[in-house]
């Protein structure tokens, strides 16, 4: 029985090459060789992880990540008929993402939102300088089970703690996994404010967010 090593490598190579037609062709070839649709998607997920690592190392850039994700979306759509119902259009979790109030830094948070989206999460990006109560409102309104907060200044990282307190006040803290990040933020800070997760980088965040679901 074939382990489809050649097809799997071709899919990963195509993901790293980030061209939509190439990704589609690699997936089509794998399907023609007999690979299951779910397995093709799993391999593409691994390819997306490689894309994330290359992005982190400055070898691939944001449009390339998006193009690879776009290719993956196209393949999933083309495989719809072969997928179990629970796999069609499914996302891992709904995540609310934003930069805390008083902090207008946008790019790092946006890159994290993009990487989460590419990693299979449904992202509600609420922007930057988000009032603390708005985070809670957006989480509740959108039914988010995860919240990611960015803070790029030592003077605004404390707001992450305030938002966690507001989640507790609203009685929803135990329904939401809280992720924190940003240049001054550390694991020690995340532990202190009782966040569920701290990530140093966008791609690490995707891995840690997936781990939180387990």
């Amino acid at each position: 029985m074939s382990d489809f090593a050649k097809e799997k490598q071709a899919i990963i190579d195509a993901m790293v090459a980030y061209k939509v037609p190439g990704i589609q062709k690699a997936a089509d070839d794998a399907k023609a060789a007999g690979m299951e649709a779910t397995e093709i998607i799993d391999v593409m997920g691994a390819g997306m992880s490689d894309v994330g690592i290359l992005f982190e190392r400055g070898k691939l850039f944001l449009p390339h990540v998006l193009s690879a994700a776009n290719g993956m979306t196209a393949v999933v759509k083309s495989l719809e008929a072969d997928l179990p119902v629970d796999k069609m259009g499914s996302t891992l979790a709904k995540v609310c993402m934003g930069t805390v109030e008083g902090d207008v830094h946008d790019i790092g948070k946006s890159i994290c939102s993009t990487m989460l989206q590419c990693g299979g999460f449904d992202v509600v990006d609420v922007g930057r300088d988000v009032p603390s109560k708005e985070f809670v409102a957006q989480v509740v309104e959108n039914g988010c089970t995860m919240l990611g907060m960015s803070a790029l200044m030592t003077t605004t990282m404390t707001v992450q703690r305030d938002v966690i307190a507001l989640l507790e006040e609203a009685g929803v803290r135990n329904k939401v996994k809280v992720m924190v990040g940003g240049a001054p933020v550390t694991q020690a800070w995340a532990d202190k404010i009782k966040a569920d997760c701290f990530s140093e980088s966008a791609s690490e965040q995707v891995d840690k967010a997936k781990a939180l679901l387990e």
Binding site: D106, I107, T114, T155
Partner: protein, 354 residues
């Protein structure tokens, strides 16, 4: 085994053995070499760096005669600003701030800066800035520049007229995102020329483009283009160009300057484009990782900066401060770490200024 008091990247105190410090130094230089495609520090440089970190004196310095040019950025704001922008909260006029830096803090150069410290918000108030520049120039002796960040993020929604590429990309509108970034870069270049020529007219000794490429590769291209136009307009103007990070973020991904894709460039590659555009001084940056030790961060930073000084024909004035140049990211960076980072940059990376 003896342990040395040192720092983590967030400024907290940590005690490490010499072996642990050595391992972090090796890992830091290896990370920079791997990311930037540059050489690791040599065995001698690594030994020297370990000596600097393990020095039991609280403060260290360079040998007499090895001092380098010391410049300060953000003008009077480091005195008048509150903790929100790393200031001391000391009431002082712009003139007071400038003279204190010259006459008591021993600055070799200093600059005038608006509280928004960005090209876009300065444009509508440039007449006021020109007035203050002229007044202070009449009182100060050291070279006195004007400083501002290109900060192209202010040209994107919701702050500016162009669509936000990050938002557009999440909708898979990649071409549109790139078009918006290119349009914003042209706008930035235009504003740079406007602001810099005006302040030059008021007698500024030069312009410091600080934290270039903070909004990614199109920000870098916009700034380089603005500098190129400025150099044509003002052949004798002194232009400093400092970066935001060790790596140019690829938000556009394909935008070019002088036929070269700028996304992903590291300091040794960035400096060539800065020189081509017409800068006189280049300021490389290496960002601090708060979860790693001073040894790891400083080793990595020195490796990046040395790769730049090795190839640069421009004077290299490294960015040193909270969260850059190996210095911890904390509200008031610890002096033991700041002086070790400065000494290493001078003695190992061979910078011309700090």
């Amino acid at each position: 085994m003896a342990k040395y008091c040192t720092r983590m990247g967030d400024g907290s105190t940590v005690y490490m053995t010499k072996e642990e410090i050595k391992q972090d130094v090796l890992d830091g230089t290896a990370d920079a070499a791997d990311m930037g495609g540059i050489k690791d520090l040599t065995a001698d440089e690594i030994e020297h760096l370990i000596e600097i970190i393990c020095d039991t004196n609280r403060i260290v310095g360079v040998a007499r005669g090895e001092e380098v040019v010391l410049s300060y950025d953000v003008g009077q704001l480091d005195m008048t600003g509150d903790n929100g922008n790393s200031g001391g909260g000391v009431p002082a006029s712009r003139l007071n701030g400038a003279l204190v830096h010259e006459r008591t803090l021993c600055a070799d150069t200093f600059e005038l800066a608006h509280s928004d410290y960005s090209i876009k918000p300065v444009k509508p108030v440039i007449a006021n800035e020109m007035n203050d520049m002229e007044v202070i120039q009449n009182n100060i002796i050291i070279p006195y520049f004007y400083g501002a960040m290109p900060n192209m993020g202010l040209y994107y929604s919701p702050d500016g007229p162009y669509g936000n590429p990050a938002d557009l990309m999440r909708q898979f509108k990649i071409d549109e995102a790139q078009e918006q970034a290119e349009a914003a870069a042209k706008h930035l270049a235009r504003d740079i020329l406007y602001v810099a020529t005006k302040i030059d007219d008021a007698g500024s000794d030069g312009f410091n483009f600080d934290t270039t490429a903070s909004a990614g590769d199109a920000d870098f291209v916009g700034t380089l283009t603005g500098v190129e136009q400025l150099r044509k307009e003002r052949p004798d103007m002194s232009i400093m160009l400092g970066m935001a990070g060790e790596n140019v973020m690829g938000i556009h991904g394909e935008i070019e300057y002088d036929g070269k894709v700028v996304a992903g460039l590291f300091p040794h590659q960035q400096v060539a484009l800065a020189e081509k555009a017409g800068a006189n001084v280049f300021g490389p940056v290496s960002n601090t990782n708060t979860g790693k030790s001073l040894a790891w961060n400083l080793s990595r930073a020195v490796t990046f900066v040395k790769s730049c000084t090795d190839v640069s024909s421009l004077p290299v004035h490294v960015n040193m401060g909270m969260g850059v140049g190996g210095i911890p990211m904390s509200e008031t960076p610890p002096l033991d770490a700041v002086t070790r980072c400065s000494k290493a940059m001078v003695e190992i990376a061979k910078v011309d200024g700090v």
